[in-house]
């Protein structure tokens, strides 16, 4: 097991290096620091000195990959690639283009993101499984048919409308919760309620349909027929046999997104004004702060790879037939 994990982690290294190279090419070769400086300074006719000063103050003035002027290891380390890209491997994110410490900001903004993402995921899964089981229980009837139709209708609505609709109904019409904002501690609850509700509702369409397919696939299998032939009640068959076995494919879908919960949801957070990592990323995008976007790209890929690893490990835990070598 441990050998497997270590090997998988080693496999992850080339992928992370690939991600790093790709972002480096995207951010520094396609667009040279001169271009970035020019667009940051906002004028196409800025002087060469101004660009040089900006580059120097943000550390973009060094050579790209190889520094011929430096001594010893400095030839490789005293470069933009090493300073800006490779240091990400040590989770040293450096400073954003506006001068703030990115690592500190990420540490601060992680918690509001989790406070929204975790309840949304948990409640969402419970709701979807309930609906999925319900529809599977009534399979072949009108409830099944209209349930699926409702799912298709729900998943044809853009997520933006769920947010706007939720804000309008719950906050503006009924004045139940504040429209947007965030607070620390217990006070955060009333701010979290709306985003979580919106997040759950917007996921019902696709989630329920997906779980229904899973359950129906499982219901068609031989062991279910055997269970029924033994005279078990339909409830018992569904909850004791089908649900447990359907949990295996269900789990893989969930575990892989777990680490990514840290990243938060871009749209929900910026709509509701939550100071999480999602809105941090959006701010970075909108201010054209390349350092922030680069850090978040790297962080996202690391978390994704961790998610894949966790998925494989969780397989062995729930399904004794799977053995990792």
């Amino acid at each position: 097991m441990i050998a497997y994990i270590v090997r998988r982690l080693l496999y992850a290294m080339p992928i992370l290096i690939g991600v790093n190279l790709l972002t480096f090419v995207l951010f520094f070769v396609v667009n040279t620091p001169d271009d970035i400086a020019r667009s940051q300074l906002g004028d196409r006719r800025v002087t060469v000195q101004a660009i040089d000063t900006w580059k120097r103050s943000h550390g973009y003035h060094k050579p790209m990959i190889y520094n011929g002027n430096a001594q010893g290891f400095g030839k490789l380390t005293d470069t933009v690639f090493f300073q800006k890209s490779l240091r990400l491997f040590a989770f040293d994110f450096g400073r954003s283009d506006s001068g703030r410490d990115i690592g500190y900001d990420i540490g601060q903004r992680m918690w509001p993101s989790l406070a929204i993402a975790v309840p949304t995921l948990v409640v969402g899964i419970l709701v979807n499984i309930t609906f999925g089981l319900l529809i599977a229980f009534f399979r072949g009837t009108y409830i099944d048919f209209w349930g699926v139709v409702t799912c298709v209708i729900l998943l044809s609505v853009s997520s933006l409308f769920y947010i706007i609709g939720g804000q309008y109904l719950l906050s503006k019409l009924f004045h139940l919760v504040p429209i947007s904002g965030y607070d620390t501690g217990v006070n955060a609850f009333k701010f979290l309620l709306l985003p979580v509700v919106v997040g759950v509702v917007s996921g019902i369409g696709s989630g329920t349909r997906w779980y229904r397919t899973l359950f129906l696939e499982e219901i068609g299998k031989d062991y279910v027929r055997t269970a029924r032939a033994k005279g078990l009640s339909e409830q018992r068959v569904l909850f004791r046999h089908v649900l447990r076995n359907a949990l295996i494919p269900l789990l893989t879908g969930i575990v892989v997104v777990l680490p990514l919960l840290f990243m938060g949801s871009l749209i929900v957070e910026s709509f509701f004004g939550v100071p999480g990592l999602g809105s941090y990323t959006i701010d970075g995008i909108q201010r054209q702060d390349f350092a922030i976007v680069r850090s978040m790209v790297f962080l996202g890929s690391v978390l994704y790879i961790i998610g894949l690893l966790l998925t494989d490990i969780s397989y062995t835990l729930v399904d004794p037939r799977v053995r990792l070598q």
């Binding site: 951010f27 667009n31 667009s39 298709v152 706007i164 871009l266 749209i267 996202g300």
Partner: protein
């Protein structure tokens, strides 16, 4: 003077490819069988009509030209305007040019905001001024408006029904002629829903669409049926123009990513070894970067490029078009990985099948095996993915535009409509019509696409076919 954008060219290329595929599939029974099953589904055929309706508007909006100005008196030379318009723009010119000052509600006769108006006796008063175009034919809007709307709407609906009746007759006559049956028996079968292709649901959907478009067209000549936006532009016009943007993103993205996904997926599965390793590495790396962030990074970079090379584009719309194309490209880069992985798995299974082994033993070249034996057997996966991706991409456009990494802000798109309307949510009375229009148009397109793709998947997926 004809002027084609890059996306226009690609769209017509795509239309050509679809036509070629239809001609190719017509003569092959194994390709026709699943399509016949799609044709038997009433919901799917109804959705297809809606989709075709959208595509028709999108295509009309994709033939761009620069209108000729009135010829110069001196030398008789024809000059062309700088503005690039499409055939669709030209058809709906009244919608486009009748601009108000600012917001006005659907069917309103008065502006949304108060203005200082000078009365005939010289005094000044704050009141809601009449609109320049909306309901301007009425002398007393308060009493006459409802009757006028109802009568105009009814008249238009009757006109629409007549046109629909003619269309139905044409279809029935053509079917009767083709099948050598009496018109009465064709009509009877159709009404009972016994035809092999569900003409009934198609014609009903067509009827609803025709009547709606007639009503909308006639009312639009007198009112702003979906209101006007902040700068007084007709919202109905904006929503119609957004159709093209949505369709371009939904279709061109797949067109761009398809060659990569199919080629690499097949190669990885077929050749295995180091080819497989390299391709797997490539798509794992790409898919491990969160999609939105990769798109954001790429669009940011494009923005910097456009800012620094602003002189190279002759017009704003040309720049917006390039950005749209680039967005399709980058969406394609982020979305090909899952299809590629799926195709690789399928090819791995297929290459062990007997007939492939036989082909290998007979010394058939790799290329021939791939194109003749493997590709046709994974085509259903490709088709299902393409159709399923379409609605997801249309929805993604709105979200991306909201985050301001979507299409150019000057371009009409549902995302931009939502984005600009969102800021007006707090106003009293609420400015709801932009959101409403974007919602209705997007929802009907995506719903139709979803329903159609469900039927398509049921018909094409061999696993689902076995279950029945």
């Amino acid at each position: 003077m004809l002027f084609l954008f890059w996306t226009d060219v690609l769209i017509f290329l795509l239309v050509g490819m679809v036509l070629i595929f239809v001609l190719y599939a017509r003569r092959r029974e194994h390709l026709r069988a699943p399509w016949r099953e799609v044709g038997r589904s009433g919901v799917a055929m109804g959705s297809l009509v809606v989709l075709v309706f959208y595509v028709a508007i999108g295509l009309l909006d994709s033939i761009h030209f620069r209108p000729a100005l009135s010829p110069n008196e001196d030398n008789g030379q024809v000059k062309y305007a700088n503005e690039i318009v499409s055939v669709f723009d030209w058809l709906v010119t009244p919608l486009k040019i009748r601009e108000e000052k600012t917001y006005s509600a659907p069917f309103a006769a008065f502006l949304y905001t108060k203005e200082t108006v000078e009365l005939p006796d010289g005094r000044q008063r704050r009141q809601f001024p009449r609109l320049k175009y909306g309901a301007s034919h009425l002398t007393d809007p308060e009493t006459e408006k409802t009757t006028d709307i109802v009568t105009t709407g009814m008249l238009a609906a009757v006109k629409g029904l007549l046109v629909w009746g003619v269309l139905c007759t044409v279809v029935i006559a053509a079917l009767g002629k083709w099948k050598h049956q009496a018109l009465r028996s064709v009509l009877g079968q159709m009404r009972a829903g016994q035809t092999t292709v569900r003409w009934r649901s198609m014609l009903y959907t067509l009827g609803v669409l025709v009547v709606l478009s007639f009503v909308a067209a006639d009312l639009s000549m007198k009112y702003h049926i979906l209101g006007t936006d902040k700068v007084g532009e007709n919202v109905f016009y904006q929503a119609l123009k957004s159709i093209r943007t949505g369709l371009v993103i939904g279709t061109l993205t797949t067109l761009i990513m398809l060659p990569f996904a199919v080629l690499l997926g097949l190669m990885a599965g077929y050749f295995r070894g180091w080819v497989d390793d390299v391709i797997q590495y490539l798509y794992t790396t790409l898919s491990s970067i969160p999609g939105v962030l990769l798109i954001a990074a790429a669009v940011l970079i494009l923005q910097v490029y456009l800012d620094n090379h602003a002189d190279e584009f002759s017009s704003v719309s040309e720049r917006a078009d390039l950005r749209l194309l680039f967005l399709c490209l980058i969406l394609g880069v982020t979305s090909w990985t899952s299809l590629c992985r799926y195709l690789r798995g399928e090819t791995l299974k297929l290459r062990e099948v007997d007939y492939i082994q036989a082909a290998t033993a007979l010394g058939v070249r790799h290329f021939t095996i791939l194109t003749r034996h493997i590709l046709p057997n994974v085509m259903h996966i490709v088709l299902i993915t393409v159709v399923l991706d379409f609605s997801a991409l249309v929805l993604a456009e709105a979200v991306l535009s909201y985050v301001q990494i979507g299409v150019d802000p000057t371009m009409n798109s549902w995302g931009n409509m939502i984005n600009s309307a969102r800021l007006e949510m707090a106003r009293e009375p609420i400015v709801w019509w932009s959101l409403f229009s974007a919602f209705i148009f997007m929802f009907s397109l995506v719903l139709a696409a979803n329903l159609f793709s469900d039927a398509l998947r049921d018909a094409f997926d061999p696993r689902l076919r076995q279950q029945r």
